[in-house]
Amino acid sequence: MDNVFVNKWSSQLKKGTLSFIVLNVLKDNEYYGYELIEKVKHDTKIEIAEGTFYPLMNRLKKDGFVESNWVEQKSGIPRKYYKLTKQGEVILVKMKDYWISMSATIQKLF
């Protein structure tokens, strides 16, 4: 019962922080979809449900935080590269500030 609750809670937490994680990963480099998923998995050890990644990228793009462009490949199957926009950089700073202040607040409760 307790494990079920913790699993549910941690899955909600991961879901809630996924956009923050993706924006953080994109701050240093641009990545194509599959590569970005792998990078997030590798750096955070979080298993992303890949199906949730594309709706998330679409939302971040719609909100103006990331932009994308298709790059032709020798294989004939182009890659869609994502990168952070100026607006994305600004929002990321705000999110980071909030994250730091929230974790400090929670730490005090321990």
Binding site: Y34, A49, E50, G51, N58, R59, I77, K80
Partner: protein, 200 residues
């Protein structure tokens, strides 16, 4: 090779195994079916993205054979009918707001109605708009049964009634401009509300 009007082509991935090719073709068909209501540009973009994901996943080293690798990739992505719905709903909404095309507005509403009260209000307004359209039609063919009805100086009904014998229709020809203006106001309200919901 799938080609959409005036845009690039989606190059199909070629598999060695016939079974893998079938699984891939079937998956892409399901993606196409799920995104069929989107604009040509959005359809192509979505299809290229899923195709690219599958291709890149297939290029990774692994112990699995081609079929297993493809199955793992498509399983990780999920069912197109499930994981693509949020993208389709959102893109459809943007298309509806940009074009004001009733067909796109209706499709966007159908997809977003479960997303909250806002869309329910827009749906009711849209239903109202359809009723006004219907009333203009009935006023042309059944003028005495459609309008604003009073009986003994008391309001009785607005719309179409089958038995209006003892009632007095007060609008006459003015029914048309009043209904059309009301419909336009509702339509503007719908598009404004959709715009607000989209930017939420």
């Amino acid at each position: 090779m799938r080609q959409y009007k005036n845009y690039f082509k989606v190059k199909n991935i070629e598999f060695k195994s016939i079974s893998a090719q079938r699984i891939y073709n079937d998956y892409l068909k399901r993606v196409e079916r799920t995104i069929s209501i989107l604009s040509e540009k959005d359809k192509l973009d979505m299809l290229m993205e899923i195709n690219s994901h599958i291709y890149e996943a297939m290029q990774q080293d692994g112990k699995e054979n081609e079929i297993d690798k493809l199955l793992i990739t498509t399983e990780n992505l999920g069912l197109p009918e499930e994981f693509l719905i949020p993208v389709v709903a959102e893109k459809k909404l943007i298309q509806a707001v940009h074009t004001f095309n009733p067909k796109h507005v209706w499709q966007a509403l159908k997809m977003n109605i479960s997303n909250g009260l806002g869309y329910s209000i827009v749906s009711i307004l849209y239903l109202g708009l359809s009723v006004f359209g219907f009333l203009i039609f009935t006023k042309i063919f059944f003028p005495s049964k459609t309008g604003l009805f009073y009986m003994n100086n008391e309001f009785k009904a607005f719309g179409f009634i089958s038995n209006a014998d003892e009632m007095n229709e007060v609008l006459g020809f003015w029914f048309f401009p009043i209904t059309i203006v009301s419909a336009v106001i509702i339509y503007v309200l719908i598009t404004l509300l959709l715009g607000m919901l989209k930017s939420k």
